[in-house]
């Protein structure tokens, strides 16, 4: 599903060059729930952003579902982000002036669904994360855990092939983190959703199938936790 070969990302030039990724290679199969771990500055977020087409690699190849996405023009990258991947931000990244439902269904409308269809899709997604009854609330009226679940609903409503999550529990307490991870687990187990998640917390790894560890921009371990 995802094939990454010798991926490099350098920021800046000359002496000030920061080598965020120094030739990372791995493959992720469909339906895997993968955790990416590593210390701060190890290149996890850079890797995830490149895979989610939010950033570009300096060098290397990466294909998603057999499609070489590195050099896609921006319009196609945008379409790819809309239809193929879901991205969950550490800080939820919800639009504050939109209700929970609007935050979700704006993407369905972008895909071309009618307002009614888009709204139903949003309610379905919010129901999956247990927030159907709070569809009319704006982000400021939700707790941190609820905001993150709305962000998950937004990411899964379009039924993406892959879900990328950048430390989705970083701002949540243990109870809320558990709720979020339970949603991921259910999506993965019930719907076969491929999930790539960055985390710092070791206890989160009990939810995943595989843990990739980065250090100074290099892949240092790739551990499968259970057979799929």
């Amino acid at each position: 599903m995802i094939i990454v070969k010798n991926l490099k990302r350098h920021y800046g030039t000359g002496k000030t060059t920061v080598k965020a990724l120094q030739g990372v290679s791995f493959e992720i199969k469909k339906g895997e729930f993968v955790a990416i771990m590593g210390a701060s500055g190890s290149g996890k977020t850079t890797l995830l952003r490149i895979l989610a087409l939010l950033d570009n690699a300096t060098n290397g190849e990466y294909t998603i579902q057999g499609l070489e996405v590195a050099n896609l023009p921006e319009e196609e990258r945008c379409y790819y982000r809309l239809t193929q991947v879901g991205y969950i931000f550490q800080d939820y990244a919800l639009i504050n002036e939109m209700s929970s439902a609007e935050n979700v269904y704006v993407l369905s409308m972008m895909e071309g669904k009618s307002k009614k269809e888009a709204y139903e899709t949003a309610l379905e997604a919010l129901d999956k994360v247990g927030l159907k009854d709070k569809h009319a609330r704006i982000p400021d009226e939700l707790s941190g855990g609820e905001k993150q679940r709305v962000a998950i609903a937004r990411a899964i409503a379009k039924k993406p092939d892959i879900l990328f999550a950048d430390e989705p529990c970083a701002n949540l307490d243990t109870a809320n983190s558990k709720q979020v991870l339970d949603v991921f687990k259910e999506l993965n187990e019930k719907f076969g959703q491929t999930i790539v998640m960055i985390t710092h917390e070791l206890w989160h790894t009990k939810y995943v199938d595989r843990v990739i560890t980065l250090e100074d921009g290099k892949l240092v371990s790739d551990e499968r936790k259970r057979k799929l």
Binding site: L54, E75, I95, E102, V106, L107, M110, E111
Partner: protein, 402 residues
Amino acid sequence: MIHDIRVGALIAYSSIKRGNKKTLAFIVFVLSLIFVNLVFLPSMIGGMTGLFTGMMQDYPYGDIVIEPTGDNTYINNADNVLKKVRAVNGVRAVTKRLIAGASIEHKQKVVGVTVTGLLPTEEHEISKYPYIISEGDFLGELSRDEIIIGAMIAGTGFGSEIYDNLGEVRAGSLVDVTYSNGVKKTYKVKGIMTGTLELVDLNALVHYKEIEDVYGLEGSKATSIVARIDKQGTEDEMKDKIRDVGVKEPVFTWADKSESLIKQAMQSLGAIDYMSKFVSLIIGAALILIIIYINILNRKKEIGILKAVGITPRSIVLSYAFLSMFYVSFGILAGLVLYFSLMFYFQANPVVFYETMEIIPAIDNLLLIQNTLTMLILSVIAGILPAWSVSKESILEAIWGR
């Protein structure tokens, strides 16, 4: 594209519905002031133009004026022309006038003037001359050896300090008038007229017969035939009708004549009007751009997020165009309320110019439509430009500033 429009509209709608209402009110208020700035001064200038052109109708030209052909000094057989013009349907009143150059002397003070010979009774229907007598009386049908003098040359009216004057001539004073043909006559001042317009107050009026006698004119001659019509705005149509009844002399509307006479004044006002509009437009455009740009900069992260989740830059740009159009539309509405409030105030309390000239601002619908459209177009540009610029930034730059 239709999806982009729908999504753009949804983003804009949410932003308006749940955005900060105080900020919205402030933006609308500033935009309303920009709109008023665009339309207020032109309205005042329009009022001033209306005042001047109205004076052209009220004194020298009426609605329609007929003048001698070619280099002729006089219209020959003016009574015949009057008869033809009177027969035209839509002509309310018509009269003939004789104009002559002269100098007036009083206690060794001499002032050059234009003396208009007119038929006093007919002038009541034609001009405002009979109604602007500030001292004494207007001429009568039997007025001979009597003269009406403008306040500025009499030395009693506003503007006397600027122009040469006879020094406190009053009704009842005697003045000597020397016409351009050398004939000198002594007149008793029957009245002083105050029109607060140089064209009136620097001149003198006598009975038509006086000029006729002084110049020895026979066969009913006139230097102009002045007509008033029933319906304002139909001057061109009436001009054609007058030609159609066989009047061979050149026929002009007051606008034709005013154009040449006060063209310079109007051009000056027009230049001021044009410059004020241009400057207001630049200021307006800059302010709209600044307001919308700051608004967009505050939402840079939001734009990055929208892009990151797959919303097209086109939708984002459209959403800001809609948002900007909404702000400006409300700004225009508020501006119209403010503008009409000001107009009603100034119509009730006109700006006094030259002490007696009251300038009532003119409400020009075309001007309002032009400026409304201009502001709407500006709003679209002001919304699109910064949003387009931000939407072109990388997602990382927009969300995380790097």
